[in-house]
């Protein structure tokens, strides 16, 4: 093979750096690596380390459609990205972003796949052929004429992939494709990617969920603060050491602590129960069967309860119903009377941005208590306490919507905490967060439970690690019913329950020692 033709079989990144417009500090600096054709590479790193920016550079969107300053050179097989036309780039590199909802630009499945092909000006018979092929490849042939908004999360993810791959890219770039998928969906996607890789497609995946991904990958690229700190085989001592140095280790130790909640000061001792749910049912208008039904539950003070279930099982709706924001079809819910100046329920939704509407972080945290008529000194005390607990004390003067995604989530949680809720609801607090940040957040929340600031916590997740580390009880919502309401140890050692709930028996659950440690984190009776 000649030198020129071997060059055409790889992607090379040479001393690439990038500084955003208006920023003084580079977001990426001195990045160099090559990707060989047919390889599957994982791009890991803490939140804000520059992974998404690097993917955009590889797709040629930077510098062609961005105002910042780029250094270095990226060669996509036979093409230099700096001089390339957008259509040439689109046929070399396909970029799949984290949220399929935001990148689907048409209303029907067929037209979504056709969109890129129309841009390529392909003749209609060829467009027809490719649509048929890729929809069948991703099990979407039956949904060809369906509206995109009626698809499940997993189907939307597959549609986005089909739309990109139909354009025939040689390099596939994926930005956190597993973030919103349950274990079954994630496995299905990873199987697909392996098959595509075997067919010669070069794949680069930026991801936080590494447990299931690394064993299938060839290489690991690790970014930290905009620099490439490791470039090594995906499985091995080097990868483990590099990840561990950044707190991104695959197997996190279980948390050997028990929770001893204290009664809030200046308030009567709360009752042992916080909420009672009896026969709760949710049914959408004109739906043939309920989303879920016959839910009977009690929430006790001091509990940290994990809500698990596959995509589309109704976890978010369940939290919304508990919060009183969605009217149940049947059943009842009783919440213990909160002390004066506090609320029964606090909620941090999956997209925290939709709860942030004040000018500063301080105002955001103070908003709830002020609405409750809490006096000024107490409001200030609560703001400082919540900000300290969640590590945002230095951000109090800043505008919430100008913060990073992780910081915005912590502000949203802190804003719910200042209400002193008896039951705090967290909807998938892992989305878009690296494990270190999630760990920090939930550790802080557990400490607040122990201090009596928050009565109990109910959080939804797809991540078995969080269940192991933080939950005192597990609720599994599967096929419209509560499949499990038990201790994490009992749940995580039952492979069938795990599979039905959309959690994989990851290294955590398989690690017997971790499961045994759960006995130390039992809910208070």
């Amino acid at each position: 093979m000649s030198g020129a033709s071997s060059e055409n079989l790889k992607v090379s990144v040479e001393r690439v750096g990038y500084t955003f417009f208006g920023s003084e500090r580079p977001s990426l600096a001195d990045i160099s690596f090559t990707l060989t054709q047919g390889s599957l590479t994982v791009l890991a790193g803490p939140t804000g380390s520059g992974k998404s920016t690097l993917l955009r550079i590889l797709a040629g969107l930077i510098p062609n459609s961005a105002a910042g300053q780029m250094q270095g050179r990226v060669r996509l097989f036979d093409l230099d990205t700096e001089d390339a036309a957008s259509l040439d780039l689109a046929t070399r590199a396909g970029l799949v972003l984290q949220s399929p909802d935001d990148q689907i630009c048409t209303t029907h499945v067929e037209s979504e796949v056709a969109f890129g092909l129309e841009n390529l000006c392909l003749p209609t018979p060829e467009i027809e052929r490719r649509i048929g092929h890729w929809l069948a490849r991703f099990n979407l042939a039956a949904q060809r004429h369906q509206r995109t908004h009626t698809l499940s999360g997993g189907q939307k993810q597959r549609l986005t992939l089909a739309s990109i791959l139909a354009m025939g890219p040689r390099l596939l770039l994926l930005d956190e494709p597993l973030a919103q998928l349950d274990a079954a969906g994630a496995m299905q996607l990873l199987d697909e990617l392996e098959q595509l890789r075997a067919a010669g497609l070069t794949v680069l995946i930026a991801e936080h969920r590494l447990d299931d991904l690394l064993p299938r990958a060839d290489r690991l690229l690790l970014l930290d603060a905009g620099r490439l700190v490791a470039d090594c085989p995906a499985c091995g001592v080097d990868a483990s050491a590099a990840l561990g140095a950044l707190g991104l280790e695959l197997v996190s130790p279980a948390l050997p602590v028990s929770i001893e909640p204290q009664d809030p000061l200046d308030s009567p001792a709360p009752p042992a129960w916080i909420a009672r749910v009896r026969g709760l049912e949710c049914r959408w208008p004109r739906a043939a069967r309920p989303l879920w039904s016959d839910i009977h539950l009690d929430f006790q003070a001091g509990e940290c309860v994990a809500l698990v279930g596959p995509n589309g099982s109704g976890k978010t709706t369940f939290l919304s119903t508990i919060a009183g924001l969605t009217e149940p079809f049947a059943g009842s819910m009783e919440i213990s009377e909160p002390p004066a100046g506090s609320t029964a329920i606090g909620l941090a939704p999956q997209n925290p941005d939709l709860t942030l509407f004040c000018r500063t972080v301080h105002d955001e945290l103070a908003f709830g208590p002020r609405q409750l008529g809490v006096d000024r000194d107490e409001v200030h005390r609560r703001v400082i306490q919540a900000a300290d607990a969640l590590g945002i004390a230095d951000l109090l003067a800043q505008a919430p919507l100008a913060l990073s995604q992780g910081q915005r989530l912590r502000v949203a949680v802190a804003a719910a905490i200042t209400l002193r809720p008896r039951l705090l609801l967290l909807d998938e607090p892992t989305t878009g967060q690296d494990p270190r940040q999630v760990s920090r957040l939930l550790t802080a929340v557990r400490r607040l439970i122990a201090d009596g600031v928050v009565g109990a916590v109910l959080f939804s997740t797809h991540d078995a690690r969080l269940v192991v580390r933080f939950a005192t009880r597990v609720l599994a919502l599967v096929d419209g019913a509560l499949l499990a309401n038990c201790s994490p140890a009992a749940f995580l050692t039952d492979p069938q329950s795990l599979q039905k709930a959309g959690l994989s028996a990851t290294s955590i659950a398989r690690k017997q020692g971790a499961v045994e440690d759960l006995s130390l984190a039992r809910p208070r009776s």
Partner: protein
Amino acid sequence: MSALGWIEVNDQTWLARCDARLKLAWLGVLSLASVQLESHEALYALFAITLIVAAGLRLAARTWAIIAALLATITWGTVLSQAMFYGGHPSSPHLTIIPTFRLGSLELGVTLWREGAIFGLVQSLRLVAVTLGGLAVCLSTSPQRLLAALVAVRVPVAVSFMAVAALRFLPTILNEWGTVRRSSRLRGYRPRVWSAPWHTLRMEAALMAPVIAASLRRATTLATSLGSRGFDATRPRTAYPAMRMRPTDMVLLWSLAAFAVALSTLKSMYWLSQVTGAGAESLAPLYAWIGRWL
């Protein structure tokens, strides 16, 4: 099938199967007629035709209720404004809200005029006919076909795509707006329109901030997605499926064109005869017919 994605529409109706360019042409002719027609009977006929076309969509009762509420609001606004500000003669007061009084050289007061209300009712037919026609086109056409049709009639791709993308994301934005309001409610906010109107107004404005921020973020994501899929507003695109006019579509298109030309010609002749006083004696019955019926 509908460009208004949150409304379910039967996509097997004859209107849904019509070529999108024909529907745009119909909308154009409808707009032209709504401006040119003046007689009550012609405007009623225009509205009736639009209603018949919309009825062909076989919409659900709930959708009709929404449309009826929209059209009633337009009619009410037009009737009220014309009843209050009618300046024609004769005019007879229907309801005096504030009796006339003098303030210096000004004569002030609020009266609803009967003739103004009737005039407004007729004028509202122009607006509701075009609104209903536009809704019928949007409800019976997918955004992609609408985009292809707009591009085919030489509307710039950048403009067409923006309009279609706005339709695609409108339900998402409405959903987010609902989430923001529910979240604020959970944090203790209650609108106090009467006891604290200024505070409520400020809060309602503040609640828009997360929706706007989310829309801006989504716009950035969408732009990235479009860029990575080779979208370029300055370049030609293939339309999939290819735009094809059926013979019936062609007949309807030519009929619409003939109607538009005939109407414009007749009205131009009539206006010229009215303005200049010129015109053949033999055409006097035609002018009289136009004046009476068009």
